[in-house]
Amino acid sequence: MNIERISSRQLTWLIISVNLSASMILGPSVIIFYAKQSAWLSSLLAALLAAAGALLNLHLIRCFPGQTVAQFSQKLLGPWFGKPIGFYYSLVSFYMVGVCLRMISQLVKMTLMPETPLWPFILGLTLLVVYSAWLGLEAIARANDLILPVSLVGLVFMLLLAAPEGRPYWGLPVWQLNLPGIVMGTFTPLACFGEVFLILLIAPALNKPTELRTAAVKGILTAGLILAAITQFVLFMMGSFRASAYFVPVMRIAEELNILDIFERFEPLVLAGWLTINSVKMSLLTYAGARSLTETLNRQNYRPVALAALLVLPLLAFLPRNLAENLSIYVETVAFKILIPIAFLILPGIMLIIAKVKKHA
């Protein structure tokens, strides 16, 4: 099998991209809706909880060095129970790519090209993520080395442009301990951060395994900080009422931007930035899903499975009838309440207990 290697810095950056890709668009509105002016606390709490969840996963990985979850689950639970776990992680990975494909395509269609059918967007993105997955983890990590800084610089640039219109007093009181609201606001970003379960699938690719824990936790906390900054900025710009009324408040801010009254309407550029950072996540999940399935089937080459994703991903993307259904059922209920908690916390927790009992550590 072709062994791919990434550095710990690359892993950190990949985790930041994966965490921010969904949370930076979906997060601010929901967090502000529940937590109001304490939104920043919700974001940070979500990051801390995600880091704690990641530590659980990392502890499990440490019990089986050099193996992915698809490999060690079979060793730990035997093929009858182990293989379904490998299948489950492939399913979750592909499912997340499918709903993400649908969400991006639908948003692009709604915002920019309402008269164009949905399928060209889904098809184009599917080809891109499968091609990236085909090229492998190293290529995805290298692309992210370029995409993440450029996207963040673009984001900072946008925030600077919008800053003069902001009203910082909308963020007051900063220290409002609305505990139930803070906890409720934590759920969505925590679910988005839960996609970090993919470290269970790519951890053996790290060139220095000893740095895995630092790299992963650093990535989650940095993403949490960035999300808190974005959320707080949205609050300054729109206030808690308007910010929670919009599905994508960042887009609303972009609509109001202009440079010298010559360049205006920056939403396509915001969408482009979001698309690029999401392409990293989708490619990585497709790669991880294909790899997991390959290892579950005890095959060597993951590429045929990646090719098969060309059929599976559009099917998953076309499952929801519309964006509302996609968000409320396929993302919020199925992904955030069932699939991700199982993949990120429940299965690793159970496997860790069994590993401890069987003294695999």
Binding site: E4, R5, I6, S7, R9, Q10, V108, L112, M113, T116, P120, F121, G124, L125, L128, Y131, S132, L135, G136, E138, A139, I140, A141, R142, A143, D145, L146, I147, N207, D261, I262, F263, E264, R265, P268, L269, L271, A272, L275, T276, S279, S283
Partner: protein, 529 residues
Amino acid sequence: MVPKKRIPEMSKGQSDPEHIISEVERAFGQSADLQVHRFQAGAGELSCVLLYLKSFIDVERLSQSVLVSLLSLPTPPVSMAKLAEAIPCVGTKELSSLPEFCQAVAWGEAVLLVSGFQSGLSIPLQKYEKRVVTESENEKIIRGPRDSFVESLWSNIGLLRTRLKNPDLRLEVLTLGARTSAEAGLVYLESLANPLIVDEVRSRIQRVNVDRLLATDNLTEFITDAPWSPFPLGLRTERPDRLASALLDGRVGILLDGNPVVLVVPVVFWDFFKSPDDYIENQYVATSVRLLRLGTFFVTLFLSGFYVATTTIHLEMIPQPLALIIAGARTRTPFPTALEMIAMEIVIEILREGVIRMPGVLGQTISIVGALVIGESAVTAGLIEPIILVVVAFNALAAFVAPVYHAAVSVRILRFPIILLSASLGFFGLMLGALFYLMHLVSLRSIGVPYLAPVGPLSVKEMGDLFIRLPLWQQNSRPSYLRPQDATTQAPGQKPAPDTERGTQAEKAPAPDKAVAEKNHSPAPNKET
């Protein structure tokens, strides 16, 4: 698959000169320039035969140096080695097999056969017309050396040696092309180039088994890491200073006899935006020009697509006054913007190709006809928007800002898919195309070196000679992605300053890295992949 040579091996008893002559004649098919000159030497006791191609040999030297010496021999020599000593030519070689005789004649050497001896002698007397060293046509610079490579391998090596007067410079000559028998030279600095890279290049060249290798570019296609990629994975240069600089980075050069172009490997994507000028101009000029080149790369690739996307799908992004001008121009033309753009881009490509092939004077005429008549007439006739003409013309100029011609041409081709994607899916399509290109670029390697290094994988330390060009006294290390054996390029404290400060600088500066020195003979793999 190359057919095996028809020339039979020489068995004992077949070393008779007449037999060899007939075999060589048979191999050359009674070629008109194959000469067989029989004469008696050594006071008439030696029957000698000279075989040579009169088109490829210095006949005057043959007569004056070889024939005169042989005819004046007082006694017959006891061995072929003794006979070689009597000939005042360097590089004579003893031959013993039929293929060797044929190959020597084909390479322009005179072959001397003497009756009674088992072996023959090859005397290197090649003479062919050589172009004088002139200025490079394709890699022009404003200041700096003007000379460029010519078609002779050995002249090119000479040009290189004038710049690298270093015994460390290694030259390995390999013969390639079963029918062309071209000599390829592999050059590198032994103390710098990573042995793994040199071995890899050598083995890839040796693997080439084809019957024709007429241009360096032919060789590139056989040794590249990604044969289907449109991006060049080797730098082709005509400039000896550029090759010398590449070797000093720890790269490997491949020269091919009969070609004025040298292939440099491994390369990274950013090398195509660097020019020898960058190191002659000061750092501010060099940096601004380099940024300009990078900018024009993106302009070349995306401007047409961006224009098509904004004017056909995202019109809301354009400021109102400009949108009105574009809309006004659009009303006069019957075709969709994308079609006009593609048509004009194709016209420009035709003009470019036409001007290259046309004789000098005509070429200029054609470019004027193309630019004025076709462009202006198309606008007047209402076939093309004037703004499209502006975009296409700007694009055509921008494409050739890149200092390496073949890279510029590749980029020009890649615009067309972007235009089509932008026309059908707007910015989404443009981004999709850009991401496909990005993913392809990051997956490429040139002799194992990541093509997008030091950006992907990221190495901030290497950025001093990438988008910006730091002062030369700050560029203390060679690119680490090439894994050179010696990473440092200069002693610390090179910043010009009074002697007292220089002393302090040298103290402050890190001592020539011991780790680097240790690593010299055990190149560590790249930390980042």
